[in-house]
Symmetry: C2
Subunit: 479 residues, 2 copies
Amino acid sequence: MRVPSFRPLAAALLSTALLAASPAFSQSREAAPLSAAALEQAAQLRERATQDGTAYGLIESLTTEIGPRLPGSEADARAVAWAKARLEALGYDKVWTEPVTFPKWERRSEHAAVVGAHAQPLVITALGGSPAGDVTAELVRFDSVAALEAADPATLRGKLAFVDVPMARSRDGSGYGAAGPVRGRGPSIAARKGAAGYLMRSISTSPHRVANTGITRFDADVTPIPSAALSLPDADQLARLLTRGPVQVHLALDVGWNGEYTSQNVIGEITGREAPGEIVLIGGHLDSWDLGTGAVDDASGVGITMAAGHLIAQLPQRPRRTVRVVAFANEEQGLLGARAYAEAHGGADVIAQHIVGAESDFGAGRIYGFNTSAPAGQRATSDAIAEVLRPLGIDYLQDKGGPGPDISPLAAKGGAWGWLGQDGTDYFDLHHNANDTFDKVDPDAVAQNTAAYAVFAWLAAESEGGFGSAPKTEATPEH
Amino acid sequence: MRVPSFRPLAAALLSTALLAASPAFSQSREAAPLSAAALEQAAQLRERATQDGTAYGLIESLTTEIGPRLPGSEADARAVAWAKARLEALGYDKVWTEPVTFPKWERRSEHAAVVGAHAQPLVITALGGSPAGDVTAELVRFDSVAALEAADPATLRGKLAFVDVPMARSRDGSGYGAAGPVRGRGPSIAARKGAAGYLMRSISTSPHRVANTGITRFDADVTPIPSAALSLPDADQLARLLTRGPVQVHLALDVGWNGEYTSQNVIGEITGREAPGEIVLIGGHLDSWDLGTGAVDDASGVGITMAAGHLIAQLPQRPRRTVRVVAFANEEQGLLGARAYAEAHGGADVIAQHIVGAESDFGAGRIYGFNTSAPAGQRATSDAIAEVLRPLGIDYLQDKGGPGPDISPLAAKGGAWGWLGQDGTDYFDLHHNANDTFDKVDPDAVAQNTAAYAVFAWLAAESEGGFGSAPKTEATPEH
């Protein structure tokens, strides 16, 4: 991860001291929603957090002691117990769990190889949601999902579709959205055309020999086919072999859905001193894929937000509102913990009482941008938070951002979101593959993230103002 | 790989034009062993080679069409056929094979996992030469081979020895020698003390989740034990878990020796016009480990030296002496092709007739240094070669180098060696692991290597002088 330097401490303190007089703040047409004391407290919290190792220690503990945390696995239950015990030890006022039930997908074994004149093994990994299967068939390569979609089914029947789309590296992860349909839609399209199996170039920026998993969902009208991703060098190898002539591949997956499992969202609360029913929600997701130890996806988010709440709990007094930290269950297979949370807590009144939500689920890189969904006329609190974040090297990017994955079900019901945008330049080197391990996490970047989440949660909870959370009706436009 | 810039062509040509007048050359007390025409030809060859894609194409072909080439595997035979066909197509005067018989080692499956409270899978790979085995036992960690050697057998009996020694990154690969005993001697030491199995931190500089194989040999007096290497993140994980308390690991290897196999050294010759019985030998090894496709180890060496010979074969006339290119069989499991070659060709007369030998077996990085084993008073040819190599960014390092692995059996009998030292800073990120694939090879660096080998082989073959090859007697000191 890239580690831009901190601004010097003196400059940071000066910037805070000048805050009340700064143009952005004084020109606001709204009443100042935060006291000078609350802002001073936020600046102190920020400086303390940048020196604090709690988040890094939590990430080390979760990735080391629990390891991979596939939803429904034995480690899922260990992770829930870990999160509950940690929140209790970190000084939260209230800690509880809420059940999340989902189908369980298992990976038992997976192999692939080129057969024939150029016989050689391939590094692959099954996509989550793939059925088991043992297929030997000729490859048919496509350089886009559109090309697959346009293919004559006669050319694909009984064959292995191979969709080979490179992913672009970017700070904001925009390449992921573009590549998403290769995993999300490709398998169903290939199945509908009669393909015997599906291979794809991993959605990854890593030149290393690790393949990237991730969930796929088959449309209801198709029979699922065994589906897997190739490491980038293996995808390149197949493309080169195809220039020599037909290529036969053997794909053998022993994976699949196997019953139901009930996991838990794990929740900790710093109870508000004046408005305990008004909630500022931060969190990450506790589950991970099984190939790495889920360090950047998403032990980091869990550690950063748990530590941010812990630092707030250590302040002389509770914030005005409640700060709630959620370690969501099973994000990876369809935001299942987040959907359960929104269903349990998403009534009309409750949406208005979820003042704002922000999830850390884009790795452990430094945060470079901040924004919220607050509409014009309700941005005074956002403006104030932006000023306190600035000494961390965080720009106020008022046209950027969105809800984190596990905030999106609440946001769909009208809940406001905060965005603390992490530098994801290297994120897709690690995301969903075996290289997502603790050694890739930079402690200084984690401390900067913790500072940002602590400032955000503290000021959002201390503020007299809000971010525009309101149950959506037909008259309410999308943010 | 790092790619320093070439010196401009004009400077290179100037340097050649000034060669005869250069102090290093003119101050030599030996007779000039090379004609101006030969030196001019060498300079032209150098410039042509830096623009030539033959080596890169050979590396692409071998790694793509054959893939991994484990000695004794089905791919071993395909690689031999490939090398023979390529040498024939590249204009060599004579192409033949010589048999190399060795025991065959197979890797069928390998798994390891932490069991118990922190259960999680581990990325490991069996060491070549390991027996099969299925062991669940407590880890005992050592931070050096010396510490293992000092251990009381009572503390190790029935347990898994875990030797956790980091490797230093360096340009000249010196960290490899220091780490070598962890793989070479560690398993036998652990077996002698009654350990049930052996785990080691990979001899690697890669932070990625790939483990490095490599041969180990058990001493005759011990019963071999299942032995494997961990990826660096996995070794770190075990070290962290051990700070929490005892750690049990399950290690299951289905690997082992299985009969004998006869492979081939593949040899091509550009027959000398005046002294065909005097041989300048260059080469690489055709086999590889099975985890990657053996791109830097050692398709690169095979491609570079085959292409260098090809470029010499295209010159208007044959060199004075013979240039012989050897693609050695089974280097990885004990220089077995090289030993067979030295046995077949290492008679007293033949050693004197092997004027000099140089192997490319340290990856595909740029060559930064040149030397030979020629003793004082016999360095005129070496001095002349060094001058022609200089425009490639190659320094004449008269206290550095040694014979490549497959040259060492000849060198042990008194054969002279040439050293074209490659930048190995990144070599141990790839060596013996799954990441050793074609995409890691830089075409410009390969062309620079080809130019260096072509210049070396051409001038050594064209020279009237030698490098001091002479059968060793008790009176002959080691180089």
